[in-house]
């Protein structure tokens, strides 16, 4: 509990640095990641992140110390080089982009691990903590790191702010950007450079292995909630920041916990929530929509059956039993009973001693569905040239989705026919 209070109040200056640093890094990576995501270059982020390790190691070997600026330069050099290595392989070999990325990623990371092992056995006492680059350790951030990395992260966001229009255009329609004379190659170069920077400022806190997740996951999660790019960028940044805080809290309170995996767990959790529950695009929303439509179909089918039985008996308001409906539509009695009570609740049926009667509203609805069914059958036979015995199943589906506008057009185009292809009467109001 004390930990929580200490963490929230940021009373410890060290914690203050760490949390601030992680927040800035996560925000920077998330914002740049939006463009990586939209340009469908998600895997490139992974290649960059892994390729950063050998650069860090070489910088350490050459300088013999953990100077954040030198490490950053080393990381930048190999990270950036990896992007062009992927491009070069893609252009000059038969390998496609995914294989080229896999190749570059594993070769660079392999060299990185090799160098890291060498450093660990070199006896240089300053090397302790260098291995935290693999999974990230926010606690290992000292004030000098936070100043350097934090400044770079802020710089990234500022550049994106000023080049927002340009980055949006080259992400959406590169050819058009060329055609209006924008320096697309230069803009792409800047965007790539920013992406590499976003990755390398994050690696000390998050680690090379999981940095790609920090780049892409907030963007993917944010995309579920909005259709506007500016909002997507802000949302992604917020998701990054919240996860960053969460991850560093766990790493702060539980000793030995790496920051990177925890941040990624938080961000993945948010992505999962988005995937499931975002309006319109979320799984739950779509499932709910389908269930609602299924319910509509059931209700309309039962009312239609009532109406058609009414046609036969020439009495639309006759009392009927579940058995009668079951015979007509083939649904089990239990199902019919369940839907009957719903229809009673919705005001389309009235029940009396297990007998059910249409209300006026129920009759209107049943009549409309019957009309739409028969009109659609007419349309299919007259305009699509289907045989009359082939149109029923299709009409069973379409009758539930025809909008009032289409209904009107259908009536006009067919000129209000009296009979459907099976000689049944088409009821208009």
């Amino acid at each position: 509990m004390n930990d929580l209070i200490n963490f929230i109040t940021l009373s410890d200056p060290n914690t203050r640095y760490v949390v601030l640093g992680v927040m800035l890094m996560s925000a920077g990576a998330s914002v740049l990641g939006c463009f990586t995501f939209l340009r469908k270059k998600a895997l490139i982020g992974d290649a960059i992140a892994h390729a950063v390790l050998p650069g860090v190691c070489v910088a350490f070997i050459l300088s013999g110390e953990k100077n954040p600026i030198l490490l950053l330069l080393g990381a930048f050099a190999t990270g950036w080089f990896s992007v062009y290595a992927v491009d070069f392989i893609k252009k000059n070999s038969r390998l496609k982009e995914d294989s080229a990325i896999g190749l570059v990623l594993s070769v660079f990371f392999g060299i990185g691990i090799l160098l890291l092992t060498y450093i660990q056995h070199s006896g240089n006492a300053l090397q302790s903590g260098l291995d935290s680059f693999i999974f990230g350790k926010a606690a290992s951030l000292v004030s000098a790191d936070v100043y350097v990395f934090g400044t770079v992260a802020v710089l990234l966001i500022v550049v994106v702010f000023f080049l927002f229009k340009e980055f949006m255009l080259i992400s959406f329609d590169e050819n058009y950007a060329v055609s209006i004379g924008f320096p697309v190659k230069t803009l792409e170069f800047i965007l790539t450079t920013l992406t590499v920077l976003a990755v390398i400022v994050g690696i000390q806190a998050i680690g090379v292995v999981l940095m790609a997740a920090m780049l892409i996951t907030p963007a993917a999660a944010a995309r579920f909630w909005t259709n506007r790019l500016p909002i997507m960028l802000m949302l992604a940044a917020s998701i990054g920041i919240v996860s960053g805080i969460g991850g560093s809290f766990v790493s702060y309170t539980i000793s030995g916990m790496p920051t990177g995996p925890w941040i990624v767990l938080f961000v993945s959790f948010i992505a999962m929530i988005s995937f499931l529950f975002a309006p319109q695009k979320g799984l739950a929303y779509r499932w709910y929509g389908r269930e609602k439509h299924k319910a509509l179909i059931m209700e309309e089918n039962i009312l239609k059956a009532f109406y058609q039985l009414g046609e036969q008996d020439e009495n639309f308001f006759k009392e009927r039993t579940a058995e009668e409906l079951s015979d007509k539509r083939g649904y089990p009695i239990a199902v019919i009973n369940r839907w009957f009570s719903k229809l009673v609740k919705h005001g389309y049926l009235i029940s009396k001693n297990n007998q059910y009667t249409l209300t006026e509203e129920g009759k209107v609805k049943g009549q409309r569905v019957t009309k739409l069914h028969r009109l659609w059958e007419m349309y299919l036979t007259e305009y699509v040239n289907l045989a009359p015995d082939h149109v029923h199943d299709d009409a069973e589906n379409i009758e539930h989705i025809i909008t009032p506008e289409i209904e009107k057009k259908l009536e006009e185009q067919l000129q209000y026919p009296n009979k459907d292809p099976h000689d049944s009467h088409i009821p208009y109001r």
Binding site: L38, K40, F162, L163, K165, E166, M168, L169, S171, F172, D173, N175, Y176, A177, V178, S179, I180, G181, F182, P183, R223, T226, N227, R228, L229, M232
Partner: protein
């Protein structure tokens, strides 16, 4: 059969274009007058899109040159507008119809500057011109194919150019949209603009265009529609690729010999 004009708005001189060393357009050479509605006609794989992409500098030419308004493209970019194929972009991009049309103002704005109020007004007017004002705020993936094409046209209109290149603006659009678009294009040419359209529906050629380029890896004919829209020239355009031309092209690709000295 080639009609050359004086003071052309577009001059394409002996243009050869290659993909991976394999020529796809051979020695294209023609001129266009101001104020015509031009159809580029030819079978699939004839290089129609490649031709306008090369003119717009999106694909490098292996040899030959292009002059617009008697100048290099770089000098007159503001007067030239390009409408890419609808399928060339991801319509799932988080942007509204209005956002896309506003991109038409980016060229005039230049780098770093944000769209001003005037730009937004122009964008809205252009959406109105294509009958899409009520869809301004709609996410672009929720538009039909025809509506997406109208958005692209509105973006081009927002550029306020003199010369327009449009890659298959009628592909995958409904009849109403096609009629609306051709109406707008005709009005543009009446106002003195020049519009070049990649097109592949022979049925409507006579009705739509008053100038044609018949293309099939080489330029078969160019000139006023009533002169070159003949059975004989169409036969030549659509009568299969020239086998020898294709074979030599394959050879060039295989041996990796450069086309010309370059």
């Amino acid at each position: 059969m080639k009609t050359q004009v004086d003071n052309p708005i577009l001059e394409v001189h002996d243009l050869t274009v290659s993909y991976n060393k394999k020529p796809v357009l051979w020695g294209i050479d023609f001129t266009l007058p101001k104020g015509v509605l031009v159809g580029i006609i030819g079978p699939n794989g004839a290089g129609k899109s490649t031709l306008i992409k090369t003119i717009m500098g999106l694909i490098p030419a292996a040899s030959g040159f292009v002059k617009l308004f008697d100048k290099q493209l770089e000098e007159v970019r503001g007067k030239v507008s390009y409408v890419p194929q609808r399928e060339s972009v991801d319509w799932d991009f988080p942007a509204s119809a209005f956002d896309v049309v506003l991109m038409g103002r980016y060229g005039k704005l230049g780098l770093f500057k944000r769209p001003r109020k005037a730009d937004k007004e122009v964008a809205m007017e252009c959406l109105e011109k294509v009958g899409m004002q009520q869809f301004a705020g709609r996410q672009i993936s929720q538009l039909s194919g025809g509506q997406q094409q109208r958005v692209f046209l509105a973006r081009a209109l927002a550029q306020d150019a003199e010369l327009y290149f449009m890659d298959e603006p009628f592909a995958g659009v409904d009849a109403a949209t096609e009629a609306a678009i051709i109406e707008i294009l005709k009005r543009m040419t009446e106002a003195g603009k020049t519009v070049v359209v990649v097109h592949h529906d022979l049925q409507s050629v006579k009705e739509y265009f008053n100038w044609l380029l018949l293309l099939n890896m080489r330029l078969v004919a160019s000139g006023p529609t009533n002169q070159i829209f003949t059975e004989e020239l169409l036969q030549e355009t659509y009568g299969g690729k020239l086998t020898l031309l294709a074979k030599v092209g394959d050879l060039l690709a295989k041996q990796e010999v450069p086309a010309r000295e370059k």
